[in-house]
Amino acid sequence: MSDLTANPALAAWLAKALEADEARVTGARKLSGGAIQENWALDVATGGQDHALVLRRDAPATIGASRTRAQEYALLDAAHAAGVLVPRPVGFCGDAQVIGAPFAVLERVAGEGYGPKVVRDTALGGDRDALARELGRQLARIHAITPEAEVAAILGPRPDDPAVAEIALLRGWLDDLGAPHAGLEWALRQCEIHAPAPGGVVFAHRDYRTGNYMVDAQGLTAVLDWEFAGWGDPMADIGWFCAACWRFARPDLEAGGIADRAHFYDGYEAQGGRLIDPARVGWWEVMAHIRWAVIALQQEARHSSGAERALHLQLTGRIADTLDWAILRMTAPGGITP
């Protein structure tokens, strides 16, 4: 991957995608982050024009919840077409011969995306209440997407009851891990008892949280990480965004560690989102902790299986232990509360 600047096949593919006679990769550097995939910053020159791009391809080992790069690209493309603030899609290359694996190329968006920093550094993101409202508006736009045939095929059948489907999915993931996790079993059962009745099902982002969008000094610059997008309860995205486990150093700011919930809710409802149902959101906040705990265990399993030995994966597994404690507090017999 270090020879992206000296790869004629990549240069030819980029020239075509950028509608230019020829393209030259003048710079390539690996970006931090990306447990699931590798991101490379590419500087590309075509004629007299310079392009700042990002190339995304799979990391050495990927977790079960992840879609293919081609599917992720199609989902992002659909969001772009619907007017959601995303990096402009440039093209997808399914030919593994070009750089060794299929890859997507997007326009590079300026800004900071690292969740703890976005929460801590209030010089970022502009006015925080306005940022929360804007994130609410963007989510309402996502929930209004009506998938075209290609995207609908990726999403598969629309679940009748996303709550029941999510419980079944997480139990399946737990079973795949092989080791017993009694606290999570307990919590999933309590959530099952108190699951909300089926309601509306929409195109959902399914990983909409602080850490998965970018901000500059003025405000939001892009909504990222589309690989989990699919059918869902609209309140599940709201709950995932507000869940205590995604507020980083500001648990008091219930909308993603950046603002009070009211601003996020206002933006969502004003843009035509569904009416917020606090009880349903609360249930999904508890489920958010369980989902994150299972994903943390999956990441640890990437290390322990030998697929990718890494200390950061081991320590992510330890996060599941702190989540387990929080989850058991939320799921005492008799009712669940986030």
Partner: protein
Amino acid sequence: MTPRGIDLLVQAATELREGLAPRLSGAARYQALLAANAVATAAREARAAPHLARAEEALADLDLAAIRAGAHDSDSALHARLRACAAIRAWIADPRSLSAQDRAEHLPEDLHDT
């Protein structure tokens, strides 16, 4: 692990975090802080080991399929046992993931620090 062994880990974590990490930047600094966190976690796990073993022993005969099937839905005693075990594991992973009050209420006396 002997208290001397635990003390070795505690000191190694301190020197990684306070001695080495501040002299580094970028990915190297991050790596040093991860290592400090890992060593400190191992020290806490060694300290908590006897308590954790007892808490896990109290859950040894648990039938997870029965929980899933609904046989323990109102079982407050089971919930309390699960919580006692989870509190120790959470403290090992990150003592600050429990409030001071939670540590006082839910952890053995020798695990109240952060």
